[in-house]
Amino acid sequence: MVIRIVARCIVLCLALLAVPAGASMTIEIVGGGANRIPIAVVPFEAPAGALNPAEVIGADLQRSGLFRLIDSQDVRPLPSEPQQVSFPVWRGRGSDALVIGQVIAQAGNRYEVRFRLFDVVKGQQLLGMSYTVPAQNLRLVAHKIADAVYEKLTGEPGVFSTRIAYVLKRGGRFELQVADVDGHNAVTIAASPEPLMSPAWSPDGSRLAYVSFEDKKPVVYVQNIFDGKRRAVARFRGSNSAPAWSPDGRRLAVVLSKDASSQIYLIDLEGGAPQRLMASSGLDTEPAFSPDGRWLYFTSDRGGSPQIYRVPVEGGAAQRLTFEGGYNVSPALAPDGRTMAYLHRRDGRFLVAVMDLTSGQSRVLTDTDHDESPSFAPNGRMILYATRVGNQGMLATVSVDGQVKQRLSQSGDLREPAWAPLRSQ
């Protein structure tokens, strides 16, 4: 009993250590898929004190809503190598898949992590890999293993090793934070007493464009998340807002009010004057490039109410995409360019909707009231957005089929989320 309490304290302390930026994020699953894959993730054979990757892998898979964890606590001996696996045992527990592994200490505070994924029904190994990493990357390796398992069993890339950026407002202060997608390892990359907003990831995930009001007006900055260096890329007369990266990472679309109220411009990050894309009769904002770089999606009220349009980046006529309702804004494109997420107002509620760009069919995915800022996961399966429950601003995710929902909260208001691209390192 005492031992268990002590063990729990150690786990808690480790969890706290892993979140240097302060209070950790709470993740609540509020809906799950209908057909969840039963999987057992056996605790890895690991040195005492080292993070056990199985905990992270299991939590990742469960949170996706596509897996159901099978308990392995009382199985003895717990397998950590292929010859120790008895498939009838796992079949008897109703498990379709099994993950086992080992963490082996090496010189220089490094670890080798090995894992294997089995098809329990066929009694076959589906995957087996080994990673050697410094101790502080054990958690990242666990996410990478979860990604590999997810991809093998669902056919789509996993996104457990990706990051998110968002703005945390607490105590009258604004913090732009970057965290792992499970809320761990949150780091404040910019903090200000004035508002910060609109973070946008560069396609390679190394830089964030965002808007800061430290000069008592909105100015667009680009900051390298690794060395913290940043520069103002749009600081013109009036407001500078809503940055969006071109897929090649060389240009930003921004909204400037220097010539007329809120127009879209392209800025070459190597230098040169901003190039105005259109002369709009209304206000234009929220530019978003299509993944192939050929189209710019945006919000405009040129037709009397805010609606989503798109225009060829190289010039041409704008084309209206949304017609249902008087308020459709904040376009975000799926990585395959075929689906658009956006914000739709219905009966005074602001909801996340998706549109199939081929058929023009749309559907509302959420049932919250105050949604904002939808952003796609890099595998296109989930949409991250901001919402409010009571007086608390929080983040939420919903799968594109509307089935799986999660909420991410912590003390303070969370807003303006942006899901980073897949990491290469």
Partner: protein
């Protein structure tokens, strides 16, 4: 006389036909170091430069800023203009306020104003920046027609980011859809 003509044009503006052809604005591209934001690295591989400590920007020394006292009697002491939902039309009741501040700018050649537009919290934060900007531009154009020099006014937007009143109902929202007139050098 000139004033009378302006007043007619202003009346049209107040009625909501606020679509003025935009004037070419001077590009302001200051590269002063930041004052308040402290960047830090996700992975502390490289030491981040402490921008907070390297404050070299400062404020202008060209005499003290010129502004009417905040408690000035009458419309000159009024600094906030409120708007209807999704509207940038200036309600008639604010005409004396704009006249007073345009008059102050004309009489004080060194006075400069920032017109800070705001929106209520509903909907998209980025779209709300654009809505606040339209309100600020609407006030700027009205004051220009009343004789204030355009180059001494900057219209900017805070969107929904700085509500005057906390709260999630129309009572709060109606106080947050606004333009604040702030003179250079004021907090």
């Amino acid at each position: 006389m000139k004033y009378a003509i302006s007043a007619v044009v202003l009346a049209a503006l107040l009625a909501g036909c606020a679509q003025q052809p935009a004037k070419e604005a001077a590009i302001e591209d200051r590269t002063a170091p930041a004052r308040t934001v402290e960047p830090a690295a996700v992975q502390p591989l490289v030491q981040t430069q402490g921008l907070a400590g390297s404050d070299a920007s400062g404020t202008a020394l060209a005499g003290s800023p010129v502004a009417p006292p905040k408690n000035a009697p009458g419309p000159l002491g009024q600094r906030v203009i409120y708007f209807d939902y999704d509207s940038a039309a200036i309600r008639n009741e604010y005409r004396p306020v704009l006249e007073a501040h345009a008059g102050f700018l004309k009489a004080n050649a060194r006075a400069k104003v920032n017109l800070e537009g705001h929106a209520d919290e509903r909907g998209s934060p980025d779209y709300n920046i654009a809505l606040g900007q339209r309100r600020a531009d609407s006030v700027r154009k009205a004051m220009q027609l009343l004789g204030a020099a355009d180059e001494r006014m900057e219209a900017v937007s805070f969107g929904e980011e700085k509500p005057a009143v906390q709260g999630h109902d129309e009572a709060a929202w109606s106080k947050n859809r606004r333009v604040e007139i702030r003179y250079d050098g004021e907090n």
